[in-house]
């Protein structure tokens, strides 16, 4: 889908398999406070959009970790800052950042890993019970079980930060992920189909409704096709008690794909 493509293609005309210098980068441990400060300024401008201010997580993961899934060492971390992670939402910043800037940003990210992350309040076990009790599996797949109306959650704790997960529960309309645009199609006969846009081209749109049924609609049969940019099919769980929300967030954050 367009959204997915957009998320993985960054800047200009291009999806560039950007080259990284073969020169061995200096160890991030040698970064000075000045380097880390420069990296923080870059991070705040370029990275906080997804990773949250101070790297506490958002649509991108929390970076307050000593080990990062895709970056086993300093070189890999610097490479990821500059070139992104193909096949994920992490875009390339090769156009925006020089090697030095990427290295400084990586040094800042490494400093976040050394800083003690806030441990999440809440009970993972009780969160798991709430997940089942609230029927989340009716719309989400988790370790192969559930339905596919919403995003799969098997690794959501590795992909998203806790602040985003909390927002997604309380005000999900502000947090719908790429690929889950809600559209409302009105046929010339007056029927309305509302749901997730599975696919759209110039002449057809495929819409998955709340029951999971996919409708193939020919645009020539539609009187309107509205994109609801701020809408979601996900209900709000703001009615949950604050401690239950903490538990559910803690459970979701624990879903990192481990067996």
């Amino acid at each position: 889908m367009t959204r997915h493509l957009g998320a993985s293609c960054f800047a200009a005309l291009l999806c560039v398999p950007a080259a990284v210098s073969s020169a061995q980068p200096r160890s991030l441990a040698t970064a000075t406070s000045s380097d880390i400060g420069a990296g923080q300024r870059i991070f705040d401008a370029q990275c906080a959009w997804c990773h949250g201010a101070a790297g506490t997580g958002g649509t991108g993961p929390d970076l307050h970790r000593t080990t990062l899934r895709h970056a086993a060492n300093d070189r890999e971390l610097t490479t990821i800052v500059r070139n992104g992670i193909p096949g994920t939402e992490m875009p390339s910043f090769a156009i925006a950042l020089t090697e030095t800037m990427a290295w400084q940003t990586a040094a800042y990210v490494r400093s976040l890993g050394r800083a003690r992350g806030r441990s999440l309040p809440g009970s993972v076990e009780h969160g798991a019970a709430l997940y089942d009790a609230n029927g989340c599996g009716g719309c989400h797949i988790l370790r192969g079980r559930g339905n596919a109306l919403g995003p799969e959650l098997t690794t959501v704790g590795a992909l998203r930060g806790a602040p985003y997960l909390r927002d997604a529960l309380i005000k999900p309309e502000a947090a719908h992920p790429p690929g889950y645009l809600v559209v409302k199609a009105t046929t010339t006969a007056g029927n309305v189909v509302r749901g997730i846009r599975v696919n759209e081209d110039v002449f057809y749109v495929h819409v998955r409704d709340a029951r999971g049924t996919v409708h193939t609609l020919e645009k020539s049969d539609l009187s309107a096709l509205d994109r609801e940019l701020d809408a979601t099919l996900m209900p709000s769980y703001s009615r949950l008690a604050a401690t239950d929300l903490d538990d559910l967030v803690a459970y979701l954050a624990s879903l990192r794909g481990g067996r």
Binding site: T2, R3, L5, G6, A7, F10, A11, A12, L13, L14, C15, V16, A19, R41, I42, A45, Q46, W49, F93, A94, I95, A96, L97, T98, E99, T100, M101, L181, E200, D201, V202, F203, S220, R227, L229
Partner: protein
Amino acid sequence: MTGSEVARGFSRAIQSRSAGLKPCAICVLLATATAASLLAQDGQWLMYSGSYSSHRFSPLTQITAANVARLRPVWVYQPVGVGSVETTPVVADGVMYTTSGPTNVAALNLKSGKPLWEWSRPIAASVLNLGFPRVNRGVAVLDGTLYVGTLDGYLVALDAKSGAERWVTQVGENPTGHAITAAPLAVEGKIIVGISGGEAGIRGFLDAYDAKTGKLVWRFWTVPSPGEPGSESWPGDSWVHGGGATWLTGSYDPELKLLYWGTGNPGPDWNGDSRKGDNLYTSSLVAIDIDTGKARWHFQFTPHDTHDWDANQIPVLVDADVRGASKKLVVMANRNGFYYALDRRTGEYLLGVAYAKQTWAQGLDAKGRPLLIPNMEPSEKGTLVYPSLQGSTNWASPSYSPSTQMLYVPVREMGSIYYKTAVEYKPGTYYTGGSEKRLDEESWGAVRALDVQTGKTVWDFKLPSPTWAGVMSTAGGLVFSGSPEGNFFALDARTGKPLWQFQTGGAIRSGPMSFLAGGKQHVAVAGGHALFVFALPDER
């Protein structure tokens, strides 16, 4: 002389090895043509934009609104290599010459779609393409020879019959980011070729090479050196890496003997601190004397650009009335969101009007200079501006129909948050000083028909996302274009009503063209990694 005579002359000239014609015969033929757009009249498609006027208009009339619904694919060619095919094929003397990335050329039989020969230049993975995909957008053809630019910065002449290399000449050095993706233009015995590298801090230029020998005839630098006119618009040594790439194909007026070529953004792209001034002749249109290589005039659309709104879009040569007076125009739907009409003899600004959503200028002054809205520059914290970095339109070709007097523009309606970062020049790396975050989900695209005399929208055919597909109009009253979602479609040229579509299965990032084969009109377009050719079914 009629257009078809010109075209036949051109056609014969292409075969001149056997026919004995000399290149100067072509010069005469072309110089005396009153409307180079008629070159395609005998069913050929001899250059990237279809004609020197760059109308991308086919005079063929067999496919019409009445029968286009029956159009169907007749063959598909899948070239070697990977990646999207962004070419416009040419058809000359009964053979199609098409290209694919990084630098492959094929000669195809028009009936079977099978290759007569294929040529590839070895392109190592280390060859740089800073700021654009590893693509090739087409060849020039002249005197039995094809001319192709290579990703690693060379111009190669190939024998049209065999694909054998006749000569190879270096245009730019790839380790410093120079590359060629654009189709060259064959003009009066010269091969005009532009250069890519505007994100790598090159100093842009446009070259003319002798078609027979490959020897450089002239070079026009798009960024003047100290002491030359325009150099006062560059402080210090900022001109050295000033950008102004020439990465798409231009146009030519044989009567005025002027080339019209768009120039790219200044470098660094989004951080203009080191280059305060207008930064001539970046983001401009330059009219260059074909004999001398000197600029006769220039017009800068976006002075001191900081949004990567280069002006490499195809300049379209049109004869039309503006404000009641008959004019020889060059018109351009610019990446910055404005449509411009200039007097192509003098460069005089005649008309400018926004044709897409833009939030950076209140309008244009009496000379066409933008009246800036404050605080729309990229910033460290990000600045939301329309259009996005990719512009209201980009390299995808527009089309002009003399029948409707409309310019059909592939439009991108999208905003971006523009960031500015520190920047340092290091050879062979990005020299941009910023980035963007695009507003993907709310974006959309269109094929938009503009009244060429006023720039006003006559009709708008909406697309689900911003388009990279070129447009072709035809004397059959049709407009062909495509979508990133793979649709190739035909619209009614007067109303924009959709009449036919075919799902190619891959994003269309190429320009449609049309030709005659066996007396029948065909239409070709690349979608994804394949080239599709369509025709009406045989009458039974």
